[in-house]
Symmetry: C2
Subunit: 84 residues, 2 copies
């Protein structure tokens, strides 16, 4: 549970966008995300999943807004299980 | 295969070091790393694994050198399987 994956198109240069998203998620949801995986991909992909469920997919949404992604991920995470 | 994990101590503020290491790995070994996972942890942990085998562990090595970690990871990755 609380596993996040960011698949990004490596040849298209989407690593910085993936890193920006990953940083926002790991800081905003510190203590709740158990793991965040970067998956290099192809073909323009940029997709964010939580426990296998897509919360953002560039293929179906043009606007890339990190704050929106952070909020959507937060809504799917189970409450804090790690005490800070 | 070619799965990298970076476990870092979240309360100790080691996320920046983890992100610096992750960036170096995903750029230097682009096309070879299939996935890179950030795992928030506790107790001062900072460990880098490739396919479950530790290549760097802060608990047993004081010097944190990203270039050394990048070289060690590279030595364990199977040759490029993704064409760029």
């Amino acid at each position: 549970m609380n596993e996040v994956e960011i698949e990004y198109c490596e040849p298209c240069g989407l690593l910085p966008a993936a890193e920006k998203t990953g940083h926002a998620l790991l800081t905003t949801h510190a203590g709740r995300i158990h793991g965040l995986r970067f998956t290099p991909g192809h073909g323009g992909v940029f997709r964010v999943d939580v426990d296998g469920e897509t919360v953002f997919d560039k293929a179906s949404e043009e606007d890339f807004d990190v704050d929106v992604i952070v909020a959507r991920v937060g809504a799917r995470l189970t409450p804090p299980t790690i005490q800070l």
